[in-house]
């Protein structure tokens, strides 16, 4: 079974802090994604990566950055956390060439106070 593991289920941080969310997948997937999910807005793509050290902006990249130093690990960074970044963050991965679905982690519920 595909396993996507996010480092924290719940996280509470303060405004202005630098926040790191970590994601690891064990299926040798090339593609990795970060989404945020808010009530009524669905899943919104923040950043994605098709390969190591490669990144592409999604629909809402402002205030975020990412790092992919190894194929299995994709990190999301909130450079200076703000209250409007309180949300559920979901990491996903998929194969690049095959017509297969994304597989998701269990999410990190992040609260910025």
């Amino acid at each position: 079974d595909v396993k996507v593991t996010q480092s924290s289920r719940y996280l509470v941080k303060r405004t202005g802090e630098k926040v790191f969310l970590e994601c690891v997948q064990d299926m040798d997937h090339e593609n990795m994604f970060w989404y945020r999910q808010d009530p009524g807005l669905g899943l919104r793509l923040i950043y994605f990566s098709y390969d190591v050290k490669m990144k592409e902006k999604g629909d809402i990249p402002e205030g975020y950055s990412v790092s992919r130093e190894k194929k299995e690990r994709f990190s999301l960074i909130l450079e200076s956390a703000s209250t409007n970044q309180t949300s559920m963050y979901l990491c996903a991965s998929s194969h690049r060439q095959r017509r297969q679905p994304q597989h998701f982690g269990d999410g990190t519920r992040l609260s910025i106070l």
């Binding site: 996507v4 593609n31 994604f33 009524g40 807005l41 669905g42 899943l43 793509l45 098709y50 979901l90 996903a92 690049r96 017509r99 297969q100 679905p101 994304q102 597989h103 998701f104 982690g105 269990d106 999410g107 519920r109």
Partner: protein
């Protein structure tokens, strides 16, 4: 513009009352359509992949079907444990995914 729309937004069913959820899409170059189940506070869990019009997939009380414009998730004789949000997503040429906003299903005992 590529778009995925799910309806209804919310659905309440009595236990045993069968129904269908709809996912309509307007995209070019469909490569696959995926259904997910999401429980509160958890990530989406993959259910089905459909690749071409006419294809059907089944799993327990769920059956997914696909036409050229839409997909249906049929739920037969649902139970309370089927309560969840059901998401659909499409994969199009260029490896882009588009997600719908989901249908929240509540099954009442």
């Amino acid at each position: 513009e590529d778009q995925v729309t799910q309806s209804p937004e919310a659905l309440r069913l009595q236990e045993g009352e069968s129904s269908s959820l709809n996912c309509s899409y307007t995209v070019s170059g469909l490569r696959g359509l995926f259904w997910y189940r999401q429980d509160p506070g958890k990530g989406p869990e993959f259910l089905f992949t459909l690749y071409s019009a006419g294809e059907e997939k089944e799993k327990e009380r769920l059956k997914a079907t696909l036409t050229k414009k839409e997909s249906f998730l049929h739920i037969t004789a649902p139970k309370p444990e089927d309560s969840a949000t059901y998401l659909c997503a499409v994969l199009i040429t260029g490896n882009q995914f588009y997600f719908g906003t989901g249908t929240s299903l509540t099954v009442i005992p």
